[in-house]
Symmetry: C2
Subunit: 219 residues, 2 copies
DNA sequence: ATAAACTAAACAAACGTTTGATTTATTCAA
DNA sequence: TTGAATAAATCAAACGTTTGTTTAGTTTAT
């Protein structure tokens, strides 16, 4: 299992991390200089080395902070005994949409890291692997529960199904300006647009999942 | 409509483009130096400026070359009158899988560019927009055809459906090492693994699309 | 008085690009 | 076909910036 660095970060460090997150998301890790970050965060360039040691360690710190923030959600969904498997699946979908759309900058960076051929650091690779594993196991547990109850099909490829879930959400997020243009929603504010998008995405994915995992119309 | 630069590239230029494609995919545009490219392509650094003008123009040339290569497929599928709409959808799915898995480096770069906040150049943005538009219109045409024939549902969000198609394929490609580990397929060669992956992905997406667009089990 | 926070300046290395010279190819009249 | 003339291709070296990091000194807090 993964050993998480229990380092705590003070307000200034978190401020730097937040700025770095925004810039890394927009211009990539290599495309962002520590002078960019220092300027935007209104600090001296040397403070980044002073607080984090290096630029590499800074992105590691970013991953550590953001990773722990998104690991606690799944467990609570699965543990809830009052919900049927299909209800849990639906909540999992909405949870994934909220999580990915609510932390677009960080997930943008994570997508970039996954696209990288050589891993930047083992720390980041491990954290990403751990997140993927938890996401997959979360869905897998729910699916198996539904199969044991006899409500879900037996021939479900959970790995591909979670690829459809996270892939669809990622695709929608990265091409949202295209969505906006094609659907003639350019008059909406970003907030209104995101709300509309979340709703459509939720319906779309729930419909797909229902048709894929459940035998017939249930619930 | 988009004006495509009809520039022709000689063998040496194409060699540079191929090396650049591989390195950009692995380390990103900013993360790849022209000295990296020159070294791998076994040429002098100045040849890149000599042939393309700049590093920026090099990636533009890469996009121009690879874009024209993948625009002609869709039209031929749609134009075929011997196929039913659902058959066309299935061929579209397999075509997308083949295209994305067959040009992983270029699509890796394209994904990175889409993640970029500020566009690197208008040329690249236009080419990506044009590709997305064609992909969407291709699916839209087929869906509308199926709706006119009465075989397809009326309430289909084609934009979300194409997001599921391309998003799922992208997700599978970027996380294929995770797939391999979880499915215990590490003994297979890359070629064998990709073949297996393509097959599973094809079945998965066809099953989803069938359930989503068609009224009931047809053909 | 000790430690932490912060700064301007300097550092060497790497960056994309340009220069000027040299080699290789092509052109074309003799 | 030859050979000078022109163009294209290639090269090592240097250009001025920008890069991440360190240093040495100053300010602020404990």
């Amino acid at each position: 299992m993964l050993i998480v660095n229990k380092m705590e970060y003070n307000a200034k460090q978190l401020q730097i991390i937040n700025v770095a997150e925004r810039l890394f998301a927009g211009k990539g890790f290599s495309g962002t200089s520590i002078r960019d970050i220092a300027h935007e965060a209104d600090i001296n360039v040397s403070m980044i080395s002073y607080y984090f040691g290096s630029k590499e360690k800074l992105i590691e710190a970013l991953f550590e902070v953001r990773s722990v923030e998104s690991t606690t959600r799944l467990e609570t969904i699965i543990a809830n005994d009052d919900l049927t498997p299909i209800q849990k699946v639906f909540i999992l979908i909405d949870s994934a949409i909220d999580r990915l759309m609510g932390n677009q900058s960080f997930h943008n960076i994570m997508l970039r890291e996954q696209l990288s051929g050589e891993d930047r650091t083992q720390v980041i690779s491990d954290l990403i692997f751990d997140l993927k594993l938890k996401n997959w196991k979360g869905l897998d547990t729910i699916i198996k529960e539904g199969q044991n109850n006899g409500h879900f099909r037996e021939d479900i490829d959970v790995l591909l199904l979670s690829a459809t879930l996270y892939g669809t959400v990622n695709q929608v997020i990265t091409t949202q300006s295209f969505f906006r243009k094609i659907n003639n929603l350019e008059h909406l504010t970003q907030e209104e647009f995101e709300k509309d998008l979340k709703l459509k995405l939720s319906k779309h994915l729930k419909s797909i999942f229902k048709a894929t995992v459940a035998y017939e119309t249930i619930e």
